[in-house]
Amino acid sequence: MFKNEEMEINLGPQHPSTHGVLRVKLRLDGETVTHCTPVIGYLHRGVEKICENKTYFQGQVWTDRMDYVASISNNLGWAEGVEKLFGIEVPRRAKYIRTMLTEQNRLASHLLWLATHALDIGAMTVFLYAFREREYLLDLFEAFCGARLTTTAFRIGGLREDLPPGFIKKAQAFQDLFLDCVDEYETLLTENRIWKKRTIGVAKLNAEDCIALGVTGPVLRAAGVPYDIRKAFPNAAYAEMDFEIPTRTEADTYARYLVRLAEMRQSHRIIQQCIDGLPEGPVMAKIPKILKSEVNEVYHPIEAPKGELGYYFVGEKGGLNPYRMHVRAPSFVNLQALPKMIEGRLLADVIAAIGTLDVVLGEIDR
């Protein structure tokens, strides 16, 4: 008389909490997820192929549109990757400014993550608190390069221009304000019983699974692996900075939340060091007007807010464009952990898992 049937449901591509156009095909037994397939590609623009038809100078514009909430990190990876390909040495002041902006961008990205993740779980006030600070950061980026989101902040060989007047003062004002703001988010969430119930033990992914699936970034560090490109393969001015890699061992959503909050505090520390120790000097190296590559290949990883962001360039003899360009996008790799995290759990945990992975679809689909 009664049929026992599993229900197939599409979460997305238009759904309030799939952060863009992620589509997750779920098979539900009641509210329990028995099977999960992420479907991607709704935002595919062929960035890699386009970059192969652009010169090295032009290509950077396309990196903004990948992880659009952390575009400065993407710019850094592109610029440094190309510099590595051509063996260009960047002036020290430019390195410091790049580091500072990248860390501010990390804050902006983590704030967006905190805002949307909390909103997904139902805490709507954190969303606006976090956006208030993010707004300040976007104003800083606007002061630096005129754009708030698609920054194209750097140039190959350094920076197009030095910091605008008053930038350091504004950045310092933000520094003075920010730690209190992080404490404020914590008062709303960290000891909140419902928040803890919704996050502790949810969407677990232990260290072995993380490594097997290639997951990097805060998700890996929350599983107890202190792997951070900024320490492992220091780029920009990270070698001169004094900071720690926050790790947790619980490997659940709550641990990732704590790791990211701790990372925000560490980023704050790095920015302070950049402001205090900003060296004088030029911001642009002497580079030729036209870059022509040799036969060469380069893989350059940087620590993006979401994990290891790697740029792979293959140059050809006398080529103005990369012969082949590939991006190892952290969101793309991290997303494949989703089925492992949520199968056998409840529908509400899917939302928490998508939030805790901090995926950006622009980067996944490229």
Binding site: P16, A118, D120, G122, M124, T125, F127, L128, I194, I351
Partner: protein, 389 residues
């Protein structure tokens, strides 16, 4: 407060009944939109933003010149707190004029019936809610037919009023379940299943927590219970303990009954799009919306009447320490009742801005593992206090 019975003819009874019903309906239809406005503003201020600011208080319109002058002087206009007030009219107009879509695969009859059930259940409850335990005023003598008749603070005083309220309130869930089922869509179905489970589970502790006032006052009539518990004349001084616990359990269950944060699983926006009313638009959605806010007012009224001292100043029967002869604070007043309702409505909004949402299984845990045992113990305690001391 004894009501002296004035003999009325059938015509007079009917006309007075209609007048009283209309009065209550008008008050509800004013409070509900004001609550939505307050929701925008309160949550706005909690979240360090302004909330609704358009309409009235801007640079144009009736107050426009004054506001322009105040902005010019570098001051926030006086009306700034109320800016956006007429937005509730705009809201209502939008809901009424919007296209009323019925999905092709929906069950048309039930789909239309569901919001009606919801809104009827929510409004019907007001028949038994006493806003004032007696006659509020008398009709002017000069009026034909109804001249000199009393206007009471309640529509009717049924001697099983509480049962009626609880019974009708639980009919509301049929609106949600039927509406979702008739939508013939997956997200509403999930939402309605959650809602059904949730309301069935929380009905138990809700009713058990309301049994404490029933036990202590020895009545089921809304008015008698309210008066007995508020004045506290016949109450044991220890009765404050079960009443205090009962209040918090009742309020928690009230949040669940009205599908408000942190128990808004049925319409969990970030999980189920819009839950049970995903397929609804226009005024049909408006009815669900109206029912939700009307339910909030019912929950607030019940909490006020049975736990917070109703029409008297002090809650939990503490009113007995104030002599009834004292001016204003010694006697019953409609405004005390109203102010307490507003306070509880504020708590609804405050909680919405602060707390995350429970997960389905955790919600069940809270209901069955904590609230029901707690209310049972509380009921036992109340029984001991009532009969042993």
């Amino acid at each position: 407060m004894p009501t002296q019975a004035i003999p009325m003819t059938l015509t007079q009874t009917l006309i007075m009944g209609v007048i009283q019903i209309l009065a209550v309906l008008i008050v509800i239809f004013i409070i509900v939109p004001l609550t939505t406005f307050a929701e925008r503003k309160v949550i706005g201020y909690i979240q360090v933003r302004l909330g609704a600011t358009r309409l009235a208080g801007g640079h144009v319109g009736i107050t426009g010149p004054m506001n322009r002058i105040m902005w010019g002087m570098g001051k926030v206009p006086m009306l700034s707190i109320l800016r956006g007030l007429p937005i509730f009219i705009a809201d209502a107009l939008k809901l009424i004029t919007k296209e009323d879509i019925i999905p092709a695969k929906a069950d048309r009859g039930v789909f239309t019936l569901a919001p009606i059930i919801s809104v009827m259940a929510a409004f019907g409850v007001f028949a038994c809610v006493a806003y004032y335990p007696g006659v509020m005023f008398y009709m002017p003598k000069s009026w034909p037919v109804i001249g000199g008749l009393p206007f009471q603070g309640f529509i009717t005083d049924v001697n099983v009023g509480l049962l009626f309220i609880l019974g009708l309130a639980s009919v509301g869930v049929y609106g949600i379940v039927l509406g979702a089922w008739a939508s013939n869509s997956k997200y509403p179905l999930l939402g309605s299943l959650r809602s059904a489970a949730q309301i069935v589970s929380y009905e138990v502790p809700l009713t058990l927590s309301l049994l404490v006032p029933v036990l202590l006052s020895g009545s089921l009539s809304f008015k008698d219970m309210s008066v007995a518990l508020s004045t506290g004349k016949d109450l044991n001084p220890l009765a404050i303990i079960p009443l205090f616990i009962g209040f918090f359990v009742y309020l928690t269950c009230g949040f669940a009954e009205t599908n408000r944060v942190p128990f808004d699983l049925a319409e969990a926006e970030t999980e189920l799009v819009a839950g049970f009313h995903t397929e609804y638009s226009g005024m049909k959605f408006g009815f669900f919306y109206l029912a939700e806010y009307a339910n909030m007012i019912v929950v607030s009224s019940l909490a006020t009447a049975f736990f917070l001292g109703g029409h008297y100043l002090l809650p939990f029967g503490l009113q007995r320490f104030i002599p009834a002869t004292m001016p204003i604070i010694g006697g019953p007043s409609f405004f005390f009742f109203f102010a307490k309702i507003l306070c509880i409505l504020f708590v609804f909004l405050w909680v919405r801005a602060t707390l995350p949402r429970y997960r389905y299984d955790q919600l069940m845990d809270v209901g069955w593992k904590y609230l029901i045992p707690l209310t049972l113990v509380n009921l036992f305690l109340a029984a001991i206090i009532r009969f042993a001391f």
